[in-house]
Symmetry: C2
Subunit: 159 residues, 2 copies
């Protein structure tokens, strides 16, 4: 079975991340998937290892933060909306060590909807959104989770 | 006024971080101070910049997580105790953008004491500790904060 190709917008997003954020390059981050389920970012273990030989917590937190930010950036780009997106706060839980390459999946947190977010953004020029990210073990259990709040500010409204 | 020299244990800690954790090298992390106030880690902006030209949230979160972990590692090394230290969870607040090189200061969270932590560790072979880290702006306001829970497990108790 073939993995579906990553859409052009997500390919451009990956290239921009790698060009603009040196730490994303150091982590060797790539977009694994972007579809109706959200955004998946992947990273190999070797550049993200810690002193114990498993994934460094800072790498897990960084990848999940970028995935949460990216899922909003991509949604707005797909709708041709120019916005600045900022992370406001995040809570990370480290549940089990990660001994190999890893992927995080970012999606809307429970109770959030794109529709409500986009309506508020159109009305007020800014809107908040909670995103949840997970890094799963091979058996499906969570190795790490992040729940974060982001704010989107319409570039025209902010000017 | 001269900055006091960093104690040998903290110099060795910095060298170990840079040797063992590729992302710490990529961030160009260094120990700025270690004394009765806690552990201060510093990083230059350039390798930690984001697409907006300020410090990348993942770099801030990583530096604060390492400082929180490090302040416990160093305390136990100074007492000649062999322990594994793990981060369990953390909450980061991003309060203002950071436009230059940055430093984080890690110390015990309110209500925590080294004495209680060390007593529990001696009695049970493991103990938890909450640490708070701050990255300050030049005017003293917080740019980012992290509150995290760590667990220390006595290497002999775990064996």
């Amino acid at each position: 079975m073939n993995t579906p190709p990553v859409p052009d917008l997500a390919v451009a997003f990956e290239q921009q991340l790698l060009a603009d954020i040196p730490l994303a390059r150091a982590m060797q981050l790539r977009v694994a998937a972007w579809d109706e389920h959200g955004l998946a970012l992947a990273a190999p273990l070797a550049p993200n290892i810690n002193d114990k030989g498993c994934a460094f917590g800072g790498s897990l937190a960084s990848l999940m933060t970028l995935a949460g930010w990216g899922v909003i950036v991509l949604k707005l780009r797909a709708l041709d909306r120019e916005c600045d997106i900022y992370v406001q706060d995040s809570t990370v839980r480290y549940l089990a060590p990660v001994w190999g390459d890893f992927v995080t999946q970012a999606q809307l947190a429970d109770g959030e909807s794109w529709e409500a977010f986009l309506t508020t953004l159109a009305q007020r020029g800014r809107a908040r959104l909670r995103i949840i990210c997970r890094v799963a073990l091979e058996d499906g259990r969570d190795a790490a989770t992040l729940e974060a709040r982001f704010v989107a500010i319409d570039s025209k409204a902010a000017a």
